[in-house]
Subunit: 245 residues, 2 copies
């Protein structure tokens, strides 16, 4: 935990915040904090700041916090991800939050098994914990917004354009002949980017056609078949590198 993440309503107007439970335990037992010790803090979806341990009791830790005036910029990348196997998705949550995505949609695709959507890994209580863990690891405060969409067609026809109105849209698929970099620096001039990543078996021709009709730009991802989590982290990394140019 490289950051103590606080809910806005946990901090009073004087900047005092009383921690209980796992965060208090972490401060006491892992960080071995004593009164006066400075800690990095952040407000969920808000600014980063500095906290100082004010007092420590058996079950509680009180921090005195001062926050920066502005929150860090919201991640500029949104993600449209064909729902991975639950086991793989479980590993991915914290990494996505740590990496930084704005809004993410977990979508059914033809090569996604329907039962994946019955898994507890897409239960908000389950994944929010993992997202917060990723934010605290990476020292970020922006919680990704998560949408679960178990039907491809209605999502693409009725929701996609409204949710991602001015995005530069990139679509990863083994069938692509261009490279992601071919769309740069053009893509980087857009305010936001939407990256779509298919299932391990790839999108179907119908799905590719539907997405192309909604202005997605297709690029290839090489010959190796990567697990969804490896592919997702890899593509987000390349995208961040190209956007930083």
């Amino acid at each position: 935990m490289n950051l103590i993440l606080l809910q806005p309503d946990e901090v009073d107007s004087a900047g005092l915040c009383c921690l209980n439970g796992s965060r208090a335990k972490h401060v006491r037992e892992v960080l071995r904090a004593e009164p006066g010790k400075p800690l990095r803090v952040g407000l969920l979806n808000g600014p980063l700041g500095a906290g100082v341990v004010d007092r420590i009791a058996t079950e509680q830790v009180v921090l005195r916090c001062a926050f920066e005036t502005a929150p860090p910029p919201r991640p500029r990348v949104d993600l449209l991800l064909a729902m991975p196997r639950p086991k793989v998705m479980k590993r991915l949550w914290a990494q996505l939050a740590a990496f930084g995505v704005g809004r993410m949609v977990l979508l059914r695709a033809d090569k996604v098994e329907r039962y994946y959507f019955d898994s507890h890994v897409i239960d908000p209580d389950f994944y929010t914990k993992l997202l917060l863990e990723g934010l605290q690891q990476a020292r970020c405060t922006h919680l990704p917004e998560v949408l679960i969409r178990p039907r491809f067609k209605p999502f693409v026809e009725d929701e996609l354009d409204a949710l991602f109105p001015n995005h530069f849209k990139l679509l990863a698929d083994p069938s692509g002949t261009k490279r992601m970099s071919d769309f740069f620096p053009d893509a980087a001039s857009s305010q936001r980017i939407l990256l779509a990543i298919g299932p391990e078996g790839g999108w179907t021709p119908y799905e590719l056609e539907q997405l192309a009709a909604h202005d997605f730009n297709l690029f290839g991802i090489g010959e190796r078949i990567l697990r969804s989590d490896t592919a997702t982290i890899g593509l987000l990394s390349v995208l961040a590198d190209r956007m930083a140019e």
Copy 2:
């Protein structure tokens, strides 16, 4: 399993190969193969090929294989990785094999706990299974060569230069002010690249100095503190993207 990986001595001169155990079970139960069904096969550290199911018995599957003349090119990237937490390293093995690295060194650094090197996750019997799983996922045949080095100084002073003699050497650290891309296209003109990735807390000034004295080129990795596996997959992805230009 997108590839059935075979040891060279499992295939006879006529191309027949008899599978038992987990691979036979996979062919029978997951791929539901019948005689005549074509399957992708590969020889460990050798060429890819095509196999046809010749016959199926209760415990055995016999494949008739034909291999390409040349093996796929060996991955051009080698990795010098400060040993991650065992739990993280466990997740990383299959992904590294799938991604493709030639030789990898797991090294002690100052901010690496000594007990990480007592973990079963660096036992060859344990990690070889995970590496093979990654190769079969990604349809690759090149098994990464693994070196475990629990002492930083003797490795850097006595082994590093001999193991990586003509490599372009890149060093990732939060303190870097250049970007990885600043070293391209120069780095790509080298036959091989060695990428060094530090522990979550970063390399120490002494370690950075030692590595710089061995021709490593320092670059930065942004402000987010990523878990070792996320950072490693991300950096390998960006490197592959830059090398492909």
